[in-house]
């Protein structure tokens, strides 16, 4: 036990004397959470729109006022002819143009039917879709307003309520994602690099010749990162609660337990990577390409899994991060207990066992 304590002290010296690893360990998590929390969002706010009002009557004016008054849109400019539409988009800031047809109000009252054309800048299809649906819902509301005295014969009214995230804050999905990415990065990449570093420098040989058993060496290398990753997880959760007002509906204890399980999963992956790479460079490349990209792209963190091509959906099943994101979202937002997420927990657990067994096998072969 005393040997082990000395080993861990040495590991902390390594970590605290290397500014690069210190930055990855502590600077990056905070920077990422803040970035994703504040800067990167898929909500729309104050989007610039332009209006081409061929009718210029009371109704169109009222609609324009409504749209401009909403917090989602800003009336950037009024256009007076078709030729101006294209240049407006090309300048870049305007994302949508509304074109009201001639005699808008008159047609509405006499023919009961009139048209407004919505032209959106679809260089970013997602934003364009969102803008479209926001504009439509404002138009719909207005329609309801002017029809409120008339009783339509048949009506299906939908009333939407978004449970677990009523304001549709994107930070609620980013925080679990960032936490997953950070824990994966810190645990897997940092351990694989620190183990391969000993190999590269030749100190691993010295350690293996010492009375320390191979598993003690590996445990000693891994233990500090469990500790640091737990601290990271706590910092991220605290930031999400106090800065982004994210709720933690479920049990903090369960959240802690699942996080530790995921950390161990990532660590065992890190050990596995270190058994197949002999230099720090290789370990880093494998961690970045083999872990980071799938974690960011295929875990459901940024792109919804349900809308992926089916081969990618299959691949996403073998990514531990996908299951962990499901778990934290369920605990933090839905407040469920273990009985609802035991399946995901079991998957992560068995993946962890698998990684550990494979690492032990590989490690033995290397020693031969």
């Amino acid at each position: 036990m005393k040997r082990f304590a000395g080993f861990i002290r040495k590991e902390f010296y390594h970590i605290f004397r290397d500014t690069r690893s210190l930055f990855i360990l502590f600077g990056m998590p905070i920077a990422q959470v803040l970035l994703f929390g504040f800067a990167i969002t898929n909500e729309i706010n104050n989007v610039d729109v332009a209006f081409f009002d061929k009718s210029k009557d009371a109704t169109t004016q009222e609609i324009i006022n409504k749209i401009s008054a909403s917090k989602y849109f800003t009336n950037k400019q009024m256009i007076t002819n078709d030729a101006e539409i294209e240049p407006v988009f090309q300048k870049g800031s305007v994302k949508a143009v509304l074109v009201f047809e001639k005699d808008f109000s008159e047609k509405l009252t006499k023919e009961n039917k009139t048209y407004v054309q919505i032209i959106t800048d679809a260089t970013d299809p997602n934003t364009s879709n969102t803008i479209n649906s926001y504009l439509n819902s404002i138009l719909q509301n207005y329609q309801l307003e002017i029809n409120k005295d008339i009783k339509a014969p048949f009506q299906i009214n939908s009333e939407t309520r978004n449970v677990y995230n009523p304001e549709l804050k994107s930070v609620f999905t980013f925080v679990p994602g960032v936490m997953t990415v950070i824990l994966m990065l810190v645990s897997a990449m940092m351990t694989s690099i620190s183990i391969t570093r000993e190999k590269e420098l030749g100190t691993m040989e010295i350690l293996l010749v010492s009375p320390l058993k191979p598993f003690q060496v590996i445990l000693g290398k891994v233990f500090p990162y469990i500790f640091l990753s737990v601290i990271n997880a706590i910092v991220i959760v605290l930031m999400s609660i106090f800065i982004f007002k994210m709720p933690v509906e479920g049990s903090l204890f369960l959240l802690g337990f699942e996080s530790v399980l995921f950390i161990i999963n990532a660590l065992s992956l890190g050990i596995l990577i270190s058994t197949i790479s002999s230099t720090q460079q290789t370990a880093m490349m494998i961690s970045l390409m083999g872990l980071m990209l799938p974690v960011i792209l295929l875990s459901g963190f940024i792109f919804p899994i349900a809308s992926m091509a089916s081969p990618l959906q299959v691949i996403s099943h073998i990514i531990p991060a996908k299951w962990f994101i499901i778990i934290i979202k369920a605990i933090m937002l839905k407040g469920v207990g273990l009985s609802f997420i035991w399946k995901e927990t079991l998957i992560i657990l068995s993946m962890t066992l698998f990684f550990i067994i494979v690492s032990i096998k590989k490690y033995k072969i290397r020693l031969e």
Binding site: Y13, D18, T203, I206, L208
Partner: protein, 244 residues
């Protein structure tokens, strides 16, 4: 006690698939002896040594190190040997003091014992001014000396040195060999591999490996007589040519 064998090797063989890296080597090393283990690159020196220090399992044959069998008691062997590799593996980002404490610790020395050893080491090597410096900032010669002392920290019966003098200047090499003699006088057996044929002259006995086999084994003096040459360098060249 000088005639007891601390290393006893019989027909020790290591194969990697079809390739025979070490081919039935047989030798013994006496207590306190400085045993030179020579051979060209790829002759099988390092593989043979790895089997003796318990990090590689032999394919066949027998070997006992410090009285323990390499097949069954490699853990006991590890407690009784010291090892220094060609990279003088100390941790560059730890101070001299921290390195000593760490390596003492993994060999299970008590805190008091480590403290004692460290003070002794500091005095012997004159480390007073650099004991709190990071090892990475020290010249190669210092690293090598400290590395050797660290390998002897737990007072092993045998110390294995794998090309310990690679890349250092002749004066430092000479000083290093003085440390080796001192350890040998204190009863520690020294098992050393080297490229430098002048160093081979410093050994009590020398074995020369060629293509996995031990082709010659005797004192440097007798080897020179046997091959009718004036230096170990010529012994080595003659042996290598005969094989070709």
């Amino acid at each position: 006690m000088t005639d007891t064998n601390v290393i006893q090797v019989e027909n020790l063989t290591k194969k990697f698939g079809d390739f025979v890296a070490v081919n039935a080597i047989t030798f013994e090393v006496k207590k306190g002896e400085i045993f030179g283990f020579l051979g060209a690159n790829g002759a099988g020196k390092t593989t043979a040594m790895k089997m003796l220090i318990g990090i590689s399992k032999p394919t066949s044959g027998n070997a006992k190190v410090a009285g323990f069998d390499v097949f069954t008691n490699s853990e006991d062997i590890k407690k009784n040997i010291g090892y220094m590799s060609q990279k003088f593996a100390l941790y560059d980002d730890l101070t001299v003091k921290e390195n000593i404490t760490f390596f003492g610790g993994i060999y299970g020395l008590s805190r008091k014992k480590i403290e004692e050893k460290r003070q002794l080491l500091v005095e012997e090597l004159g480390l007073q001014n650099i004991v709190n410096e990071l090892v990475g900032s020290l010249p190669l010669g210092w690293k090598q000396k400290i590395s050797f002392s660290v390998a002897l920290l737990h007072e092993p019966k045998i110390v294995f040195l794998d090309e310990p003098t690679g890349g250092v200047d002749p004066i430092t090499r000479r000083q290093f060999w003085e440390m080796i003699y001192k350890a040998s006088n204190n009863g520690t057996t020294v098992f050393v591999t080297t490229h430098y044929m002048d160093e081979a002259e410093y050994c009590d006995r020398v074995s020369i490996m060629v293509e996995g086999r031990i082709e010659a084994l005797d004192t440097p003096k007798k080897l020179k007589e046997q091959f009718k040459v004036n230096s170990m360098n010529d012994v080595f060249l003659k042996l290598a040519r005969n094989i070709e």
